[in-house]
């Protein structure tokens, strides 16, 4: 899933290694998430939200997620 982690990480002046330490994951995992190759679990997503002070849906691309489940918006079941 597309996300703004690289941008937010740069804004907070964190390297991938710094962020990996804070999230308690490997540097390669941070890299895979940033490059849209791996979707993190809830724990990592909420941890990122806490670290960057942004809601999860503003870090990860909600529109892309909705498209992947065949929905235009969350209001429609």
């Amino acid at each position: 899933m597309k996300n703004r982690i690289r941008e937010l990480r740069a804004r907070h002046r964190l390297s991938q290694a710094d962020l990996a330490d804070k999230l308690n994951v490997s540097r390669q995992t941070v890299n895979a998430i940033e490059n849209d190759k791996y979707d993190p679990n809830l724990t990592i997503a909420f941890h990122l939200s806490f670290l960057f002070g942004e809601p999860v849906e503003k870090i990860f691309d909600k529109a892309e997620f909705l498209k992947s489940i065949g929905q235009d918006s969350l209001d429609e079941p």
Binding site: S15, A17, S26, R27, Q28, A32, Y38
Partner: protein, 145 residues
């Protein structure tokens, strides 16, 4: 991506291919490497003992050492996999699934070939599961780089 970040994106391919895990940088990796070495030593001791001793009791003890060494590595890997983050765990489990499949294919092949008495296959072929796991680790991790 900075140069440092580019370097960070690389998985430890050498360790994955040769040792079958993410290296000895983490304390869990160190423990696994020590336990792997112990497993190999126990297995070799059992193998040599089974061929060297003449006493039936000592041969029996030596033979039992070999499966016990495998139990040790199973325990070590369970502890290790639990210590990994979700992506590393996914990569390891994908490789384990592939090697498990290889062991099944080889076991069935050994049984089938022996059944028809045509070119019997050596049981030692199941050891191919390890290099196949290493190769699978390499390619799976590469897909997440």
């Amino acid at each position: 991506m900075t140069q440092q970040d580019k370097k960070n994106s690389e998985w430890p391919y050498g360790s994955l291919l040769i040792m079958g895990f993410f290296g000895v940088d983490s304390p869990e990796g160190k423990k696994l490497s020590i336990r792997s070495l112990l497993t190999v030593l126990l297995f070799i001791a059992g193998f040599i003992g089974a061929h060297l001793f003449e006493s039936a009791f000592l041969i029996y003890i030596s033979v039992v050492l070999m499966p016990i060494s495998i139990l040790l590595i199973i325990y070590s890997y369970v502890v290790y996999v639990k210590s990994l983050d979700t992506l590393e765990r996914l990569i390891q489990l994908t490789a384990f699934a592939a090697s498990y499949g290889v062991v099944l294919v080889i076991a069935v092949s050994i049984y089938a070939f022996n059944l028809v008495n045509c070119c019997p296959l050596p049981v030692v072929l199941v050891l191919l599961a390890e290099p196949i796991r290493g190769i699978c680790l390499y390619f799976t991790s590469k897909s997440y780089a």
